[in-house]
């Protein structure tokens, strides 16, 4: 009793509180409760149809009646339904006032609660005092009683609209009338029988049934993704690249409601609910789960990484340790932890390599099978490592530091190609431009990223599952070991570009990985050259011993630059048989071309297979100009570009020095050109290399000629003057002036040979001509490489090894943040990316959310690592907030899509407003969603409506009327009263409003 004595009841009457002042003695109110408890208990036990008790309280006598309209003896378990009534009777003339009734009701509530009785109690009313009806009572719910089969459907009196359920002592008119009278008493200023008829004419009542569906499958709700793609009907949940959104269905309950007749229509007092003639309006309501930070799995992961990020910056500011140092501090000696696994790892990788090479080999089939089992294993470990378990606080299950076995499995899934190389969605089959595309097409970003599905992208996303900085660093150091292994074994790093085009938009780590891949490729090419060349030389030696001399003569050796004149002289010595020899060489080459593969052409200077400048013939030879294979300058990563720009823009540097630095490539091109085009001259080179400087218009040629003659004259004049002073110096300059490569050959005509050098190229002492003079005919395989792949790869690996923790996490974080935008904005049918990276939806609110997120990231995320002192974690909250918004909304929408599949109108309404009406053509699919678990669903649905065997979870009666308020003379206003009955609760609420809906 003491427990309940502190109970304060707040009713809707005039008095505020029923106060207990004396705590030492049981008050009369407490006595009343005790008495009520007794009655309730005995009535629950006996379940007699009707009995009466007399209670005294506050000098009034009340009679309590328990009524069960159905005879208890005939009650069978299948139709457990009861009307329970605790009826209060008061003296006719002197009924209790509202305050007293409230007190009584509160006593009832407590008594019912104390008895764990879940039967609702209604306080009956005096016929003349309907206004005394206090509409709110509820039965305390005890989970224990729910488990028992003692589950009651509570029926309100008015429910007897359905004739079949009408008990003998009820009649329709009376039920309705009672309800209406309650309403009338509530809204009328002066209850008067004369107004009653008028009130009745204006009143309407609608019935609303609600069917509730909840307890959704916690995994199935995400399957909407598969609905749009016709190919895969069942998307494997394990396929997900990261966990995002709610761990369970964000929809708590769906309500399927029917109102008959629709509120808008006029009401017929006695209507048949089941009749198809009565108009019905159907609608759906959705109740979403209350969002909470701990429910957004992706945000949790991102925040984890961010915490690591801040930690790493803090470490930087303290003592600037290397990754290795940190790992040692944590006793995670890298070598010792990997030793047991390293052997198996390498074995696995060579296996994997074999596999890719012999993909079509049937013998490997079994091996493949084993591997695919391996993937499955990986997925499961990812899952336990990852965030998804049944527990809500998903991150709790992520390890602080992954074990070596977990690491191994992470690495394995990273470096294994889970996709068929021929799959159009395989990373290697998607154009680089698509992969490098900005996350949102209409917005640029300065934040560096990594292509979706690339190796570093996957690495970053896996880090979402590792909860600590040390864990990430450990993972990274293992990762770098793998990269080193790839370089040492000359195997391309999977899912990483190998082209020379390094995108500025990618993060430095990705650029470095691409650089390593490019180096692997170059090393391959280089080795192929070496091999084919050896082959070529040996065939030549067998066939023709003289060839050796010949090739030496033509400058095949690798000696340092030979002065210009001797080379030319050497060629001159070759004289006429030079051509013949070359032709003979041609024949041999053609033979060897048949025998060898295409790479042969690299070695072959004048082969027919070479690309040609069509229609353009060498000035002094009868051959088309061959376009030589030239050396690549090689890609540059961001840091290299910065260094390079710094060097080049050094103001101190003279123009000559700058030129010198850059003529290396020009020299290389010239050498290749000379090698591919024996007998060529400078003009030929210009025709290919700088076409604009080859003037072919007759009038321009003429003016250049005139100008050149003028210049020559000036030169001569100067020379004359100079000669007068110093005559000996000019002897040395003269040979350069006589820059003649024709060697007595006659310049041929036609085939693009008509033309002359532009004025700026015509000068003899330009750097172009000087370089040309220096250039020897050397194939690119023998040239000093412009790009040192060994050095560059070593540099790149050393960068990866020595990266600072803060730099590493900064890049990981940048990749994650930008990738999220890409993934959530990519729409499946508009993207080249694999479907798991396309969560975007063609849905305006979603697009806005992603755009907002991306803007926030762009504004908030620094492009450089900030100082520890300047970091305010709060500044980053908007990022996480918008990310949570995305997760929340996407989860909701996906769940709706899963359930309503193609009913886009309904989905949109539910998403926006939480409810949606149902049109005729949508009715069937929605009903199926709610009632498909019923066995003979099809049969029952034939009745056009709802299956008769299903009881609605909630029944509601909406009574509307018009009445003047607050005074009799006031304007007549619409009013509504809701009577709401659910298994546990009965509420009546009135609303006074001007709205008529």
């Amino acid at each position: 009793m003491v427990r309940s004595s502190r109970y304060k009841h707040q009713h809707d009457g005039n008095d505020d509180f029923f106060e207990i002042t004396d705590y030492t003695q049981a008050s009369s109110w407490e006595n009343l409760i005790a008495r009520l408890e007794e009655i309730i208990q005995s009535s629950c036990e006996s379940r007699k149809s009707s009995f009466e008790h007399s209670i005294q309280y506050n000098n009034s006598h009340y009679q309590l009646v328990y009524i069960s309209p159905i005879n208890t003896s005939t009650l069978n378990k299948s139709e457990i339904s009861k009307i329970s009534k605790l009826k209060y009777n008061a003296l006719r003339d002197n009924g209790p006032n509202v305050t007293e009734l409230s007190t009584l009701l509160s006593a009832f509530s407590i008594a019912l609660h104390n008895c764990a009785c879940y039967l609702p109690a209604f306080v009956g009313f005096d016929e003349k005092r309907y206004e005394n009806f206090i509409g709110y009572m509820y039965a305390p719910i005890s989970s224990k009683s729910l488990e028992n089969e003692d589950h009651f459907f509570v029926k309100f009196a008015t429910e007897s609209i359905i004739l079949s359920t009408l008990s003998p002592n009820q009649n329709i008119a009376e039920s309705f009338e009672k309800q209406l009278k309650i309403f009338y008493s509530k809204i009328s200023v002066d209850p008067d029988d004369r107004n009653w008829d008028q009130f009745l004419n204006l009143s309407t009542t609608s019935t609303k049934y609600t069917y509730i569906k909840g307890n959704w499958n916690d995994i199935d709700w995400r399957n909407a993704a598969s609905l749009s793609s016709s190919t895969s009907s069942s998307v494997d949940y394990d396929n997900e690249i990261f966990r995002w959104g709610y761990p369970m269905d964000p929809i708590n309950e769906l309500h399927y409601c029917v109102i008959s007749p629709p509120i808008k229509s006029t009401h017929i007092l006695e209507n048949d609910f089941q009749s198809s003639q009565t108009p019905k309006s159907w609608f759906v309501k959705v109740l979403f789960r209350k969002p909470h930070n701990s429910l957004f799995q992706l945000s949790i992961g991102v925040i984890n990484i961010f915490t690591s990020y801040v930690e790493s910056i803090k470490l930087m500011s303290q003592y600037n340790p290397s990754i290795q140092q940190i790992l040692t501090d944590y006793n995670l000696n890298k070598t010792s932890s990997t030793n047991p696994s390293s052997s198996s790892k390498q074995k696995y990788q060579s296996q994997h390599h074999n596999k890719t090479q012999n993909a079509s080999d049937q013998n490997e089939y079994n091996d493949d099978d084993n591997q695919s089992q391996n993937y499955k294993g990986t997925d499961s470990i990812l899952k336990t490592m990852g965030t998804f378990t049944k527990s809500l606080a998903s991150s709790l299950s992520s390890p602080l530091i992954p074990t070596s076995r977990e690491l191994e499995q992470l690495l394995q899934s990273l470096f294994t190609d889970s996709k068929d190389p021929s799959d159009i969605y395989h990373f290697d089959n998607i154009p680089e431009e698509d992969l490098n595309a900005p996350p949102l097409t209409n917005k640029s970003t300065r934040i560096k990223r990594a292509p979706i599905d690339s190796l570093f992208f996957s690495f970053s996303l896996m880090c979402l599952n590792i909860q600590s900085l040390v864990g990430v660093l450990l993972f990274w150091s293992e990762f770098v070991d793998e990269i080193k292994w790839h370089w040492e074994h000359q195997i391309l790093i999977p899912r990483t570009f190998s082209s020379s085009h390094i995108s500025v938009n990618n993060c430095l780590i990705f650029q470095k990985l691409q650089m390593i891949n490019y180096c692997v490729k170059k090393r391959h090419e280089y080795q192929n050259y070496q091999e084919t060349e050896e082959q070529y030389n040996s065939t030549n030696n067998n066939n023709n011993n003289e060839d050796n001399d010949n090739s030496n003569q033509n400058g095949w050796d690798d000696e340092d630059v030979i002065p210009t004149t001797p080379t030319i002289k050497g060629k001159e010595e070759g004289g006429w048989d030079f051509d013949e020899q070359l032709e003979g060489l041609d024949d041999q080459l053609e033979k060897s071309n048949l025998l060898n593969n295409e790479q042969q052409e690299e070695i072959d200077p004048v082969s027919n297979n070479n690309k040609k400048l069509t229609g353009q013939y060498l000035l002094y030879e009868d051959r088309e100009i061959n376009i030589p294979k030239t050396q690549d300058f090689g890609p540059m990563t961001d840091d290299m570009v910065n260094d390079h720009l710094n060097e080049m823009s050094d103001i101190e540097m003279t123009q000559e020095k700058r030129l010198e630095l850059q003529t290396v490539t020009l020299l290389s091109d010239m050498q290749s050109f000379k090698y591919s085009n024996p007998g060529c001259v400078f003009e030929d080179f210009i025709r290919w290399h700088s076409n604009g400087d080859w003037i072919t218009k007759p009038n321009e040629m003429e003016s250049i000629n005139i100008r050149l003659k003028q210049l020559k004259q000036e030169e001569l004049d100067k020379q004359k003057i100079a000669d007068e002073f110093t005559s000996d110096q000019y002897d040395e300059i003269k040979p350069i002036d006589e820059f003649d490569e024709s060697k007595g050959r006659e310049r041929k005509s036609n085939y693009g040979r008509e033309g002359c050098l532009s004025l700026r190229m015509a000068g003899n002492d330009t750097i172009w001509k000087k370089t040309w003079a220096k250039a020897k005919p050397i194939p690119i395989s023998k040239q000093k490489p412009l790009f040192d792949f060994n050095k560059q790869a070593t540099n790149a690996i050393s960068y990866l090894e020595n990266i600072l923790p803060s730099d590493l996490i900064h890049q990981i974080m940048s990749v994650i943040l930008t990738s999220i935008a890409t993934i959530f904005s990519n729409e499946k049918n508009k993207s080249n990316l694999s479907s798991e990276y396309c969560l975007g939806m063609d849905f305006q609110p979603m697009r806005q959310l992603v755009e907002k997120y991306f803007e926030t990231v762009n504004q908030t995320w620094p492009s450089q690592i900030p100082n520890y002192e300047s970091i305010k974690s709060k500044d980053f909250d908007p990022i996480f907030k918008t990310l949570q918004d995305i997760e929340n909304s996407y989860s909701k929408l996906i769940s709706l899509k899963t359930k309503f599949s193609k009913l886009n109108r309904v989905i949109y309404n539910l998403y926006r407003d939480g409810c949606s009406d149902i049109l005729d053509n949508e009715f069937d699919s929605v009903s199926y969603l709610f009632f498909n678990e019923i066995d003979d669903y099809e049969y029952e649905m034939e009745n056009n409506g709802i299956p008769t065997s299903i009881q609605p979870n909630v029944k509601e009666y909406i009574t509307r009327s018009y009445s003047p308020r607050p005074y009799k003379t006031s304007q007549i206003m619409p009013h509504k009263m809701y009577t709401h009955i659910s298994p546990y609760e009965c509420r009546i609420a009135t609303s006074i409003s001007e709205e008529d809906i």
Binding site: S444, T445, R446, S500, H501, V504, N505, T630, D632, F633, M636, D638, V641, N642, H644, L645, N646, M648, S649, I651, Q655, R658, L659, L661, Q662, T663, T665, L666, D669, H689, S690, N691, G692, D693, R707, S758, L759, R760, M761, A762, G763, T766, I767, W768, P862, S863, Q864
Partner: protein, 202 residues
């Protein structure tokens, strides 16, 4: 003014359209018919006045030959302004602009990049591209447009000033240098105008 500012400008366009001549005229006020064909890139610093403030332009003059493309692609990074140049007497240099725009798209990494289209050699008589055609193309591709002649000086100074003006006006450049600080910044203070510089600009 405490803010230190320096802007990077890159000249691109086909070979022999006069990129180097334009830079020479602007920076040294000289003109040479036989200016050397650029190899790779050439670098010049020059001060211009914008709204009475002095701003330093780092001008990168590039080679137009396709063979140098790989070499110069890295110079696009961090550029605030790009001058696309064509020769009004050679239609193919105009038609190649699309190729250069594509290069800008691929290699330039600033979102608020300012592009200026320059038609050079208007002193010559055998014009093939009308002013209207150039202006229309510039408008279509959201570029500023100017015609000039490095030989006669017409439009040169104006081109660089207009470009500098636009660069300063674009929001991110004036607010903070945080995004650009990654690039090499030989910082030079923007000084209040000093009288001795008046009239010296060409």
């Amino acid at each position: 003014m405490e803010e230190e500012k320096q802007y990077k400008v890159l000249l691109i366009g086909d070979s022999d359209v006069g990129k180097t001549s334009i830079v020479k005229r602007f920076s040294d006020d000289t003109f040479d018919e036989e200016v050397l064909t650029t190899i790779g890139v050439e670098f010049k610093m020059k001060e211009v006045k914008v709204d009475g403030k002095k701003v330093d332009l780092c001008i990168w003059d590039t080679a137009g030959q396709e063979k140098f493309r790989a070499l110069i692609s890295s110079y696009y990074r961090g550029a605030h302004g790009i001058i696309l140049t064509y020769d009004v007497t050679k239609r193919d240099t105009f038609e190649n602009l699309n190729y250069w725009l594509n290069e800008v798209e691929n290699f330039a990494n600033r979102s608020n990049l300012v592009k200026l289209l320059v038609g050079n050699k208007i002193d010559k008589e055998n014009r093939e591209i009308s002013r209207e055609e150039g202006a229309e193309f510039a408008k279509k591709k959201a570029m500023l447009f100017i015609e000039c002649s490095a030989k006669t000086k017409i439009g040169i100074q104006q081109a660089f000033e207009e470009l500098a003006q636009k660069i300063i006006e674009s929001p991110q450049n004036t607010q903070s240098s945080s995004s650009s600080s990654q690039q090499r910044q030989k910082t030079v203070k923007i000084e209040e105008e000093e009288p001795q510089y008046q009239g010296c600009s060409c």
